[in-house]
């Protein structure tokens, strides 16, 4: 039988004032296994800990029960003390007689009685404890960043600068992401390309960073410290070793009618293309859907034009498998589709644009070469109306319930840019609220409204109608309480942002949940905002929630720090209180596998010894590194094969029995 020592703490008068500690010491002496029990002023003090160590040696204790404060306070302290005396740290149980007893009860007799019961429960549990040993696993010193926008680039740079290898997987042919499409950035009006492209180049040139553009993550297995990731590099039809980026192929390409995604579809591009001038890598890709050679078999002009012989129509997708210690999700966002907002004429009128489309119009490399023109007739507009919160903060069922956070600021920016260049254009902004929390944000907005004369109207627009070749905006001014009818040449809709739809598939591979809006959930919304619930997977940028560029960069850095903290370790020490399956009892039904939030359970056909006979059975295997010890599987398991170390069925029932005795 286990020899148990019981230590009852006074905690000064915190416990001893309400609980008769001497009586507790006496009452538990007869409990099964108890060979020693004592009390002490402050168990957590060095004196108290040394008393524990001494008693363990003197009485050859196999386990100790400490009746003291909450285990959330000093469980680690007492485990270490026991370990120092040669005891397995998991042979320590705490009876919480302070927070759950002395502090909440006034009557000493009652409190003492309860303390004895709590102590008995701890003893009953301890009698069934087994020494536990945390598993160790190695760490592959390399990180994977999924998504090559500003979030992914910054995370990768920070990790690489610290000396670790990083791979970036980006699904489009270039890194840069949404930020590359922007003209200027608020609140300082820096040119987006001027601050982003150096980072893109730095990432590409960094000796610790590898770029996998036009690539997607196809499969992930493994766990924190050692993920195995299958990456599919889609065929570019251009040999990256041979291509020198001269662009002659693009000039010669006769198929120039594909929609240019970089310009949000406002312009056309050739079938072989580089998304934009500063794209990294500067390597063309053939859009096989648009290419005459692939569609009709008749063309091949790019091949003829290429002096480097880099065009390769036969190129196939390549799949590589790499190992990583950590994974960062930086899958970004997109503006939501406004198909369901017909009242704003978005699908009908070329002069009704989303803000991102308008951003392209303002940009010198955009579809109009930076001239502010109406797309319907190429004329300069006289009046522009911006409508905020299109799809954000919505309760109409078409939009998003959340605030997209960036729209107030970029609308102010765009309005200001228009006014700066063309003071004669009337600019009106319709808003629900103007939200400008951020350094220099409110000043920026006020400058737009006050110095630049942008007209801000509180109220939502009910309808935009085409009228005599122009647009008529019907709205309400809530402050003036009147109906407005404004003639406009262009209407710009601040479309709500939403997580990139590709994120769901990746989240599922990594067992990272999404919230009701499809943003990835954090391990803890306040205290672990850049960690995902899956160990070793971190979150960077918009995929976790709406944020602007400075916030994205800050979060990217935070994610990098978390990655570095992980990669700098040689061994990961796990939590030993994990699920364990008894293969002789396991039915192989997969119930546990179905609800494990960490994908920690797999099934194997295995030779199992049953009553002296060998039998091949399908049995559950728990990956101790991935299991976080929630115990959901233990209840789903009908046969009781699945149990949780440290909180076994019998241990918990022993506690119940002791309490109900």
């Amino acid at each position: 039988m286990l020899k148990i020592g019981v230590f009852v703490c006074w905690c000064g008068s915190n416990i001893a004032g309400t609980v008769d500690v001497k009586a507790v010491v006496e009452a538990v002496k007869a409990e099964p296994g108890v060979v020693f029990s004592t009390d002490y002023q402050y168990m957590c003090s060095e004196g108290g800990q040394s008393a524990i160590r001494q008693a363990i040696k003197e009485y050859e204790l196999g386990g100790v029960v400490i009746c003291a404060c909450s285990p959330r306070m000093h469980e680690t302290t007492f485990r270490k003390a026991a370990e120092a005396a040669g005891l397995n740290p998991y042979m320590v149980e705490i009876a919480n007689i302070r927070e759950h007893c002395s502090w909440i009860h006034k009557d000493k007799e009652e409190a003492t009685e309860k303390a004895v019961v709590l102590c008995r429960a701890a003893i009953a549990k301890l009698n069934l404890n087994k020494p536990l040993f945390p598993g160790e696993s190695g760490v592959v010193k390399r990180a994977l960043v999924i998504g090559g926008g500003i979030a992914g680039i910054q995370t990768a740079l920070d990790i690489a600068d610290a000396g670790y290898e990083v791979d970036i997987v980006e699904k489009s042919p270039t890194i840069g992401g949404r930020m590359a499409q922007l003209d200027k950035t608020f609140p300082t009006l820096d040119c987006a390309a001027c601050i982003l492209t150096p980072k893109m180049v730095e990432a590409a040139a960094h000796e610790k960073i590898r770029l996998f553009t036009y690539s997607e993550v196809e499969e992930v297995s493994g766990y924190v410290g050692s993920f195995r990731v299958k990456i599919r590099q889609k065929a570019r039809s251009v040999n990256r070793e041979l291509c020198n980026g001269c662009g002659e192929c693009i000039v010669k390409c006769p198929s120039k009618t594909a929609s240019n995604a970089f310009d949000e579809g406002l312009s056309k591009r050739s079938a072989i293309y580089i998304p934009f001038a500063q794209a990294v890598p500067n390597l063309p890709v053939i859009d096989r859907e648009a290419c005459l050679r692939f569609q009709t078999g008749k063309c091949g002009l790019c091949e003829i034009a290429c002096s480097a012989k880099a065009i390769d129509y036969e190129q196939e997708d390549e799949t590589i498998t790499e190992e990583y210690g950590a994974i960062v999700l930086a899958t970004g966002y997109r503006p939501m589709s406004l198909d369901r907002y017909d009242e704003f004429q978005y699908s009908q009128s070329p002069d009704v644009l989303t803000s991102l489309e308008f951003e392209r119009i303002l940009n010198a490399s955009g579809p109009t070469g930076g001239s502010l023109l109406r797309l319907s007739n190429g004329e300069k507009p006289k009046s522009i109306v911006f409508i905020q919160c299109v799809g954000s903060r919505s309760d109409d069922g078409c939009g998003k319930s959340y605030c997209s956070k960036i729209c107030c600021m970029y609308t102010a920016k765009q309005a200001m840019l228009v006014k700066d260049k063309y003071p004669d254009i009337d600019v009106t902004v319709f808003y629900i609220d103007v939200r400008t929390p951020g350094k220099n944000f409110d000043e920026f907005y006020r400058r737009a409204a006050e110095a630049y004369g942008v007209r801000y109207v509180k109220g939502m627009v009910g309808k935009v109608a085409e009228w005599k070749g122009r647009l008529q905006v019907q709205a309400v001014d809530l402050l003036e309480d009147k109906q407005l009818l404004i003639d406009a040449d262009m209407v710009v809709l601040a479309a709500a942002i939403e997580p990139d739809p590709g994120a769901r598939k990746i989240g599922a591979m990594l067992a990272v949940n999404m919230d009701q809006n499809d943003f990835f959930t954090e391990a803890h919304p306040k205290l672990r905002p850049v960690e995902s619930p899956t160990a070793g997977v971190f979150l960077s940028g918009m995929c976790q929630g709406p944020k602007d560029i400075p916030e994205t960069v800050a979060q990217a850095g935070a994610a990098a720090v978390k990655v570095l903290g992980l990669l700098s370790k040689d061994k990961l020490v796990g939590n030993p209180c994990v699920a364990i399956s008894d293969e002789t009892l396991c039915n192989g039904c997969s119930s546990c596998e179905a609800l494990c939030p960490y994908d920690a359970i797999t099934f194997e056909e295995k030779q199992v010894m049953v009553q002296g006979r060998r039998e091949t059975r399908r049995v559950a295997m728990v990956n101790e590194t991935m299991c976080q010890g929630c115990g959901a599987c233990t209840v789903a398991c009908p046969s009781g094969a699945m149990d949780l170390k440290g909180f076994t069925n019998r241990q918990i029932m022993a506690e119940v029995d002791a309490i109900c005795r």
Partner: protein, 182 residues
């Protein structure tokens, strides 16, 4: 049938007495009030097992303690990593061994430390408690509460309420004597 319904009613009668007893005061003042006594002078002290998940409810109970918010000593807490660790067996075992009420506490849905644990708890307990109710075990004897680590005051008040509810119901005989001895 081995036992008549009348004797069942009789068995429950003393238990129901507190609600009718003139000494009975409103729920919240009953707590720790020595006046809550039955006619024979002995107050019924229920035995209540309160399962708490480590991350939210147990921390909430700790906060109730450090805020010195009182609730009756009848409540005994058992710590589990997550409410989804609570096997219906544990609850039935508590009743079998004489508990008068069992309360399951977990993080608020959506806030589970393990992200989804309490969603499973919610389904399991909804079905289990409905089943117990179907067997004639008062649904008031079982309860699920979502208590966050910040809700110390709520933890204490939930415990007070629950104890009071069980006091009113009286001793739990039903689960002990499903097969009649008479």
């Amino acid at each position: 049938m081995p036992m008549s319904t009348e004797s069942q009613v009789q068995a429950n009668a003393p238990a129901k007495a507190p609600t009718n007893a003139p000494a009975n005061a409103p729920a919240n003042t009953l707590i720790n009030t020595p006046g809550n006594e039955e006619k024979d002078g002995k107050a019924f002290r229920p035995l209540i097992v309160s399962f708490c998940c480590n991350w939210c409810s147990y921390a909430g109970a700790d906060l109730a303690g450090s805020s010195r918010l009182t609730y009756p000593a009848d409540v005994k807490i058992i710590r589990v990593p997550c409410s989804c660790r609570i096997n219906p067996l544990f609850i039935l075992r508590a009743f079998q061994r004489g508990a008068d009420g069992v309360i399951v506490n977990g993080c608020h849905p959506g806030d589970c430390h393990y992200s989804t644990g309490n969603f499973y708890t919610r389904r399991r307990m909804a079905l289990l408690f409905s089943m117990l109710d179907f067997l004639g075990i008062e649904k008031e004897r079982t309860r699920v509460e979502w208590v966050s680590a910040a809700e110390g005051a709520r933890f204490a008040s939930v415990m007070r309420e629950f104890v009071e509810q069980i006091r009113r119901l009286g001793e739990n005989k039903k689960l002990g004597d499903i097969r009649c001895k008479e």
